[in-house]
């Protein structure tokens, strides 16, 4: 019985944690960072003559702009 109660408490704690604004934002921003880095690599693979530094800075600026947008909306 007590194991059941502890299990229920832990699952509600986990559910609350995963649904919290903080965790959702963290997941979204991680996805965004990973996606932008992936796009950057795809572009550099396709056009090897491109300016890597400029592209990296552009990706970082786009990430920061969208991050601010999400954080403001939160």
């Amino acid at each position: 019985m007590s194991t059941h109660i502890v299990g229920e408490y832990l699952s509600s704690l986990l559910e609350g944690f995963l649904n919290s604004d903080f965790v959702v934002t963290l997941i979204v921003l991680s996805f965004l960072f990973h996606a932008l880095n992936g796009i950057r690599i795809l572009i550099l693979d396709t056009f090897p003559f491109g300016d890597e530094e400029k592209l990296s800075i552009t990706a970082l600026v786009v990430f920061l702009i969208i991050s601010v947008f999400f954080l403001v909306r939160l």
């Binding site: 979204v28 996805f31 996606a35 999400f70």
Partner: protein
């Protein structure tokens, strides 16, 4: 010089990445930022299941690539790693597909 990690995994990573950038981005926008409850427009259990499988495929292919990128492992290690990750991926996908209907 390191041996190439594999052209098929390279291709799988690219294709799943492009798919995920579009569909997962749309899914996150609809599910978490539009205030919609339940399925978003055009979303069904089937499309979410496909999205889950693609995400798992991308994740485990990427993990395999990262591990093999550390140093020149033997061919047998590569095979064992691939099979292990494949089994883990199938287990994750089955768990996810079983849980999916109860989530929405």
């Amino acid at each position: 010089m390191r041996k190439p990690i594999g052209k098929y995994t390279w291709l799988i990573l690219r294709i799943t990445a492009i798919t995920l950038i579009f569909f997962l981005g749309l899914h996150i926008l609809v599910q978490h930022f539009s205030g919609a409850v339940g399925f978003g427009p055009g979303e069904t259990r089937f499309t979410l299941a496909i999205l889950l499988v693609i995400a798992i495929l991308h994740g485990f292919t990427g993990t395999r690539r990262i591990i093999l990128d550390f140093k020149n492992y033997s061919k047998s290690f590569e095979v064992i790693l691939t099979i292990t990750l494949l089994i883990l991926g199938i287990i994750f996908a089955v768990i996810g597909l079983f849980i999916l209907p109860s989530l929405i």
